[in-house]
Symmetry: C2
Subunit: 329 residues, 2 copies
């Protein structure tokens, strides 16, 4: 089968398509024919996360997939050959991929493959930051700094489904305009941290109950200042490459603020299984009923991953870029 | 009656004893004859919290008291004249003080007045940071940076009662030695942030599950580095006067850390009532059974508040300094 690998070269990180043996499902795993796989900055763009360390070998790439189950590993319960599934995994940019059965979720009937391939990573992260850690409630206000990214748009959609008001920032006025259709209540056009006054104005001086920093250190202090009493701040990414920020301890202390990190890199299988299980209970029904639906910006054919990656780096998208189509599609 | 007031003068903040009318209990309040009142840095030492703003009038001082109920305001239910109570309040350094009935707690029978006067503020803060926000569980490890302060010792005692292991730092080896009797597992003698290696060593490389920064910005980054995966950091005070710190966002993000502020300054009456109610349910029984007992460093007579305050500023104490004895005691 064909599979992409991420290589470290003198010219930087490169994606190469290889011919590799089709994998066998191990105990507890599903083998899935990949029909769609979402792209994520974390593993594709230098400086943003899980890239291979210097000198490491070429490695599988693609952190989420949707497709049909073609084989079951030992001990798998609850899934059958032919089931349409979606889930987090490793090596989704390939014709086939193994998905741990505890990561797999049934694809909602009305979803096409690209929609299904756009769900697992973004919405699992968003579920973590809005529900598990952020404890967002209906009627609260969410500030999303960097609202046009995959995670930003997912946070917007899910926060609206929960019944919150959403304020989003972006360097592009045109992109903010496009997000009105997803329910964006207030769009703030800015590239930097100068959004605090606008947030206070939009909340009658209260500030946001939950702020999501999907930009990085350059806007962290502003996110903190834009918080209401007992507000929470989710640190979820650093597209700006700024990994440090100054923290105002007196404000954190007096206003009882909470700052937390959202990442799945070091989670144990049990922690992942518990998260997926809670997600299935709380949010899968929202996808099934149509209240929650991923925003797919564009679908790129399987053999044009480089093009899709360049599009992501150029940052023209609003929502997810999805690779779709398998070897024989 | 006699009551202390905090005055802003050209020479700094000063405490003066006044003759003032005895207060009447308002609706929902208890009038209490003060038998003991704990001292707290926040309201007595410049640069640490709730001090009057420049130009403000003299104001009542003393944030916690223990004594007998001598009068009941309208609508008070569940308390009777003569009951021994302890609670947070405003103006405890006086012969009589009003305590909101939702703040009042019954004094455990075996407690003398100084012990009772040392409970409300420290243990309510400690309950907030260990239980309400910190979610400490038996078997976890707590790092207390600044373990000899009132809050530090309270955190040590309560963490031991919960079944956690406690590592504490102090600039005084002698004070650390004295805290062995309170169950301190590991004492680290340091005045600065150079305790990270020692914490990692004491936890087999894991790090602490909960760190309490009762020192301030000078040790904040070290507290963060000393945390285990999914560790929590409680920011509770800044004796060092450093109100800012650098935050390592990448570590916060990848290790899913949580940083939170512990302060009651802006809490609403309802939030305070809920906290006291949870405290009575969870911790008052621990005081009653003797598993939890405040550590009183010294008792100072009512008319020597200046001396008590100087002792606090000199920092020779380990645990609480309590003012005790009323006008006719």
């Amino acid at each position: 089968m064909r599979a992409y690998r991420l290589h470290e070269t003198h010219a930087g990180l490169q994606l190469q398509l290889h011919d590799v043996p089709q994998p066998e499902p191990g105990p507890g795993q599903l083998l899935v024919r990949v029909r769609a796989a979402g792209l994520n900055r974390g593993e594709l763009i230098a400086g943003h996360g899980a890239l291979p360390a210097a000198g490491s070998a070429a490695r599988p790439v693609g952190g989420e997939a949707a497709g049909e189950v073609v084989a079951l590993g030992a001990g798998v319960d609850g899934w059958r050959i032919g089931d349409r599934v979606m889930g987090r995994c490793s090596g989704a940019f390939a014709d086939f991929v193994r998905i741990e059965s505890y990561e797999a979720m049934a694809v909602p009937p009305q979803f096409d493959w690209p929609q299904a391939g756009a769900v697992p990573l973004v919405f699992m992260v968003v579920y973590d930051m809005l529900v598990m850690q952020g404890q967002l409630r209906a009627g609260e206000t969410v500030l999303v700094a960097g609202v046009t990214s995959g995670v930003g748009v997912g946070a917007l959609q899910a926060a609206k489904a929960i019944g919150a008001k959403v304020i989003g920032t972006s360097g592009s006025a045109a992109k903010l305009e496009r997000l009105k259709t997803e329910g964006l209540d207030v769009g703030i056009h800015t590239r930097g941290p100068d959004f605090v006054d606008a947030v206070l104005q939009a909340t009658e001086g209260r500030g946001a109950d939950l702020a999501i920093d999907a930009v990085g250190g350059s806007v962290f202090a502003a996110c903190l200042r834009a918080l209401a009493y007992e507000g929470r701040l989710a640190m979820v990414g650093y597209v700006d490459g700024q990994l440090r920020a100054e923290l105002d301890l007196a404000t954190l202390h007096t206003k009882r603020l909470r700052v937390f990190g959202v990442s799945n890199k070091l989670r144990t299988p049990q922690q992942r299984a518990e998260q997926v299980s809670a997600f299935k209970r709380d949010w899968l029904p929202l996808f099934q009923s149509g209240r929650l639906r991923p925003r797919v910006d564009r679908v790129v054919p399987f053999d044009r991953l480089d093009e899709a990656r360049a599009g992501m780096e150029a940052g023209e998208h609003v929502g997810k870029i999805v690779l779709a189509g398998s070897a024989d599609a």
